[in-house]
């Protein structure tokens, strides 16, 4: 058994903070367990154990990557806590994974909450944008990274200094329905963003293309690239028809529109 000094716990926290920023900004991937394991090992004076544990944890998280914006169990805390407990309690890397995963799931829930809670920030940034206040926008860009740094510092520092039992108890004290509620709200939130986009882009004559894109994805399970390429073919067709018909006047081609929409839905 090792004991963690306050200095070591602070260093672990600092590294977690830096890695927490890198997970979303920079993406140099110093936040992956393979690197984090080595760094935590060096901080605790057990570099070899750290490197080996980091390697094992890296394999565990190999498949857990952010696909289409969905967030897997948090890889930063997984790497830091996993290595920490592997060194402190002499657990085998494979067992340390079991300890690390619940923490990472909890941290991921907290991050979901953060990404939900920070949506209103966008509306302050909107105002700065319209005013052309780029200095303010530059400053605002750092709000979230700073929060991430502080958050990850705390979430790594506490387990390092108090050990696993206290922290697990604290995590369990949060009612699970609240976490579930934030998770559900986070999942629904892009609808607000799309609605704002539609408010700008929507015209009733374009509605069929939205519908076609939706159907292609919902029923056809087509990837977005396929949908974009299909839409590009229709758009190109539309473009050439319009160009050949009326080179100068703005499109009176209501009938041409109807034709090509028909064509598109048949194509799917």
């Amino acid at each position: 058994m090792h004991d963690v000094t306050v200095l070591q716990a602070i260093l672990v926290g600092l590294w977690a903070g830096i890695a927490g920023i890198d997970q979303f900004n920079g993406l140099t991937h110093i936040h992956r367990p393979i690197v984090t394991g080595a760094v935590i090992g060096i901080i605790l004076g057990e570099p070899t154990v750290g490197i080996i544990t980091g390697g094992t944890l890296e394999l565990v998280w190999a498949g857990m990557v952010p696909l289409a914006g969905a967030q897997p169990p948090n890889v930063v805390i997984g790497g830091v806590i996993g290595t920490l407990f592997a060194i402190l309690s002499g657990l085998k890397p494979e067992v340390a994974v079991g300890v690390a995963v619940p923490f990472s799931v909890a941290v991921q829930a907290i991050i979901t909450l953060l990404f939900t809670a920070l949506a209103p920030l966008m509306h302050t940034m909107d105002v700065a944008a319209v005013n052309g206040d780029t200095k303010k926008m530059d400053r605002m860009a750092w709000i979230e990274p700073v929060i991430l740094f502080i958050g990850f510092f705390i979430m790594a520092f506490l387990p390092a200094i108090f050990g696993q039992g206290v922290v697990t108890a604290a995590v369990k004290a949060i009612p699970v329905w609240i976490l579930g509620g934030f998770q559900a709200a986070g999942g629904m939130m892009p609808a607000v963003g799309f609605a704002m986009l539609l408010k700008i882009m929507w015209k009733i004559e374009y509605a069929p293309f939205f519908v076609a894109g939706f159907i292609a994805a919902a029923y056809g399970k087509l990837p977005i690239l396929a949908i974009a390429l299909l839409a590009a073919s229709v758009a190109a067709y539309d473009f050439f028809i319009n160009r050949n018909q009326t080179p100068t006047t703005p499109a009176p081609a209501a009938s041409a529109d109807a034709d090509e929409e028909e064509d598109y839905s048949n194509g799917i």
Binding site: I34, G55, A129, V130, L179, I200, A228, V234
Partner: protein
């Protein structure tokens, strides 16, 4: 706007004009501006949230270019505001979109054309990027690193970082230049058809938004109380009823509910509040799934 400084409420109902107060086209983007934008693209997700995703970081990354292009303050404001909308793509491919878009901005293309092209590019590149980087580059470089790490060799992590970032930064810079040159060339060949190009871009853009609506929004009643029983028959609300009517029905309905509320003049902030409320209430009654491992 009455005063010079807009408020949140005014901004919500702002119409973005399609053309510019100052339509003069000047070649102002140089290599160093492009490179500044590459470095800023590292903060693409700095304002990440579920409403706009990378919208804030995307705008942040364009600032050096937009400031040089739009010396008219009103034009700059509308350009920045336009880019603040929903944006999401792969962080390793974003510089290509930046390059194309900044070439179009420099040429003072109509705002609707720029918007359409942006939306049309971001979705597909997101999907390609996931496959290329998270499912290919990361496992390969990680695997090489791990094989050394498992012997306790410190060169495991170092080699991983070197290999990974050689590809990462190489791509970021190359794609920026490639995107900018592509954008410039494409614009030259489509000059006389602006109106129609704008139309084509909107068609692609809206089809992509339709597809994203079906795939990016998670809204399903798959919690513990998401099913009920009639006699011996157990009926699943999500899989048994809603999905049978139409897949992604709830995401579609909720998107149009939000659209309708916005049209009625409700602010997006109200909608965020409503979304949170629905999430919490629904979760309390067990309609939404709860995170598993911390029960």
């Amino acid at each position: 706007m009455a005063s010079n400084e807009a408020t949140i409420k005014e901004v919500d109902n702002l119409q973005i004009p399609d053309t510019y107060e100052d339509p003069s086209v000047n070649k102002v983007i140089d290599k160093s501006t492009l490179h500044k934008m590459v470095w800023r693209s590292l903060l693409l997700q700095s304002s990440f949230n579920y409403e706009r995703m990378q919208g804030g970081g995307w705008t942040y990354s364009l600032i050096p270019g937009l400031k040089k292009i739009h010396t008219n303050k009103k034009d700059l404001g509308f350009a920045l505001f336009d880019h603040m909308q929903f944006f999401n793509t792969h962080p390793f491919l974003v510089t290509f979109v930046q390059g194309v878009i900044i070439a179009m901005e420099e040429n003072k293309e109509n705002r609707s054309t720029i918007r359409g092209i942006k939306v049309a590019l971001m979705g597909p590149l997101g999907g390609i990027g996931d496959a290329l980087f998270w499912l290919t580059l990361l496992p390969i470089t990680g695997g090489i690193g791990v094989s050394l790490s498992q012997q306790g060799n410190i060169f495991g992590p170092i080699l991983f970082l070197l290999l990974f970032n050689a590809v990462h930064f190489g791509l970021l810079f190359w794609l920026m230049n490639y995107g900018y040159n592509t954008g410039t060339r494409a614009i030259a060949s489509m000059r006389e058809n602006t109106q129609k190009i704008s139309r084509a871009a909107t068609i692609i853009g809206l089809a992509v938004v339709g597809g994203l609506t079906a795939t990016y929004i998670n809204f399903s009643l798959n919690g513990t109380n998401g099913s009920f029983a009639i006699g011996k028959m157990k009926i699943d609300l999500q899989a048994g009823i809603i999905d049978k009517i139409m897949p992604a029905l709830l995401p579609l309905a909720y998107t149009f509910f939000c659209y309708w509320m916005l049209k009625k003049g409700r602010s997006p902030l109200t909608l965020i509040g409503i979304t949170l409320l629905i999430g919490l209430i629904g979760s309390f009654f067990g309609l939404f799934a709860w995170p598993a491992a911390i029960k």
